[in-house]
Symmetry: C2
Subunit: 191 residues, 2 copies
C-alpha cells in the first residue's frame, strides 16, 4: 500500500474511533506507520486530511460551498437543488443513506456526521451569511435540509418521497429563504 | 394476562412485523387468541388499536392534534413548543429517541414511524390547514420538525443542541409559518 493510502485508512479508523477533535496527527501517523511530516506533505492539515477521509466515505463534503456562489436571491433553490441531486445520485446517495442510518445507531458515525454538519455545513453557511445570529440561522437552515433528507430518503414518507425534485425545491425554498434571512425575533404575544 | 393486554401485545408484534396497512384485525385476534369482536369492543377500530399500541411505545401520537386548537396566528409556535417539550420529557423523550434511532436501521420501525408521520402528522395537519396543496405544505412542515428533532436530539449538533427551548421556538417558527401558509409557487427565474 502507498503511504498516502496507508494514512487515509489509518485516519478513517482514528476519526471514526475518536472523532475529529480528539484525534491527533501524531496518532494517525503512528497507526499508519509513517512520519507525521508525511501527512502534512500529502494533506496539508488535519482538516485537509479529514476532508479526504470524508471524500473516501461519502464523497466531497462540498454540498454547501458548491451552492454559495451565484445570485444570493436564489441561494435556497441552489442549496436544495444540489442537496437533492447529491442524494439522488445512485452511488453517492446510497453511501449517504448508509451513513445517515448509521448516525442514528452508531455513536462513532453519529459524532462524525455531527462534526461534518457543524464544521462543513453550519459553520461554512454562517460565515457566508454573516449578520446577526448567523450561526443560529445556519443551524435552523441545516435542520430543514436534514429534515427533507430524512423524510424523503430515510423514511420515504409521502407526499415528499415521490414528489418531483423540482416541485420539492420550489415548495421547500420559501421557508428555507426565511430561515437564512436575518429577522428580528418579534415574538407574537402568547395566545 | 387480561384480554385487552393480550390484544395490545399481539397488535404490537403484528404492526411491527407487517406495518399498519397490511395487518388485519383477524390476524391480531388469532395471535392474541381472542375473537376479533373483542378488539372492536376494546379499541373501536384498527386505527384506535394502532393509536393504543403507539401510546404503549412512545405515548400518545397527539403532538399535532394537541397543537391545532387556538389562535391560527400562533400555530407554528404551539407546534414547536409542544414538540420540543415532548422530546425533552425525560421518559417520553428517551422512548422517542430510541424509536427515531431504530427507524434509521430497522425496516419495521422505519415503516411504523413512516405510517405514524403520514397518518398522524401530515394527514391530520393537512386536514386542518385545508386550501391548495395542503398535503405538500403539511409534508414540508413535518420535515422541518423532523429536522429540528434530528439536529437537536439525535445528532446533538450545535448551535441547536444547546439553544434554549424558547429561543429555538422563536428562531424556527417564522420558517414553519411560511411552510404552513398557502403560497403561489412563484418560482424565481433561474440564475
Amino acid at each position: 500500500m502507498q503511504a498516502r493510502e496507508q494514512i487515509l485508512q489509518a485516519a478513517r479508523r482514528q476519526f471514526l474511533a475518536s472523532g475529529y477533535r480528539r484525534v491527533t496527527l501524531r496518532a494517525i501517523a503512528a497507526d499508519a506507520g509513517v512520519d507525521s511530516a508525511l501527512i502534512s506533505y500529502y494533506f496539508g492539515s488535519k482538516r485537509g486530511l479529514f476532508a479526504a477521509v470524508m471524500q473516501l466515505i461519502v464523497g466531497p463534503p462540498d454540498v454547501i460551498r458548491h451552492s454559495l456562489s451565484g445570485d444570493p436571491a436564489h441561494l435556497p433553490e441552489r442549496i436544495l437543488g444540489h442537496v437533492l441531486a447529491t442524494w439522488e445520485d445512485p452511488d453517492r446517495g446510497a453511501r449517504l443513506v448508509a451513513l445517515y442510518r448509521r448516525a442514528g445507531s452508531d455513536a462513532d458515525a453519529n459524532r462524525l456526521v455531527r462534526e461534518l454538519i457543524e464544521g462543513e455545513v453550519v459553520k461554512v453557511l454562517a460565515e457566508h451569511l454573516g449578520g446577526a445570529h448567523a450561526s443560529a440561522r445556519a443551524g435552523v437552515a441545516a435542520s430543514q435540509i436534514a429534515g427533507l433528507v430524512f423524510m424523503r430518503y430515510i423514511l420515504q414518507a409521502e407526499p415528499l418521497a415521490s414528489m418531483g425534485r423540482r416541485e420539492l425545491v420550489d415548495r421547500a425554498a420559501p421557508a428555507l429563504r426565511v430561515a437564512l434571512s436575518p429577522q428580528r425575533l418579534g415574538r407574537l404575544p402568547r395566545s
